[in-house]
């Protein structure tokens, strides 16, 4: 086995996450799929860090984790705010601007 296999699994997980963002309706599940995509990118960073033999990739993955944590905090707060006013966590229901 060579280290590139991790890259393949990272590509697969990223694709699955992208499908989830498009297909699912529950805003929280959509959010988890975004997290999955970020994690897949992190796996790529760590694998390339190993292939290239320096720690820059790992530092990048560390920054990605911090940004993901910020994103989760703000995103979930937005979901709670929308839920409070509309009583629904579905991404299809928040269509006030369309009408």
């Amino acid at each position: 086995m060579n280290a590139a296999n991790y890259l393949y699994i990272s590509a697969l997980l990223f694709t699955i996450g992208a499908v989830g963002v498009v297909v699912r309706r529950n805003a929280i599940v959509v959010f988890m799929c975004i997290e999955l995509m970020l994690n897949a990118a992190n796996l790529s960073f760590v694998t390339f860090s190993r292939i290239n033999g320096d720690l820059d990739g790992q530092v990048m993955a560390f920054f990605t984790m911090v940004v993901a944590a910020c994103e989760v905090v703000v995103g979930l707060a937005i979901i709670v705010t929308i839920y409070r006013s509309r009583r629904s966590a579905s991404v299809d229901d928040a269509s006030l601007l369309k009408r």
């Binding site: 590139a4 997980l13 694709t15 297909v23 796996l43 292939i51 530092v59 940004v67 979930l76």
Partner: protein, 262 residues
Amino acid sequence: MQLALEVGQTAQPEAIMFWILGPMAVVAALGMLLVKKAVHSAILMAFVMVVLAIFYIAQDAVFLGIVQVVVYTGAVMMLFLFILMLVGVDSSDSLTETIAGLRPIAITAAVGFGGLMVSLLGRATLGRQAIGLSAANADGNVQGIAKELFSTYVFPFEVVSALLITAAMGAMVLAHHQRTTVRPTQRQLSINRFRGESLGSAAGLPGPGVYARHNAVDVPALLPDGTPAPTSVNASLEARGDMLDYKSFDLAEVNTQIEEEK
């Protein structure tokens, strides 16, 4: 054509670990899309994150592996589950397609994108062997990352700390809830009950399980005439589908003869 990044073979135990955990992670990620309940999605997501943490540790990124467990499976997933419990279950959990033809298009696009990525990786060449992290980790992985973080990346590090504080502030502002009306007092609530449309709920709504055959929260109370009172069961239990069918508790006839015989 040179194939697939001939970047050095990894040790045999790592290969075994990879071929066991890798497919499991992909299946769990697919399951995330296919399961109906968001809580099950969250648990599968936590599994994928633990597998990724193991992958990090296997690739000499010990610090990131531990951080992955602490931050993602610990804090982030806990936050997700917390919000799930807060928001509860509603129609958005169903898997029905609301935009016609979205799913086939999404799957086609995903197969195209995934195929592109995989074939790109298959054709890519790095032109050298994998170096591995034994030299970079010579002083220890944490020390190595700290050296990078506080020298080359010290400015991004400060920017990220500002981002964290801003995110915390943003969440506080978003979650802050200001009352626009005066909170009704107990006295006011009581007056409202008696001055409402009917006196039906003047004494408060019935509790679940009262006079029913089972004393449980998912069983509606029986009214004096034997009919069940659906208002006695919490609405969220009903939405979740956890309420027992109250028709089965409907008494066919109320036996009033016992009193008369006495």
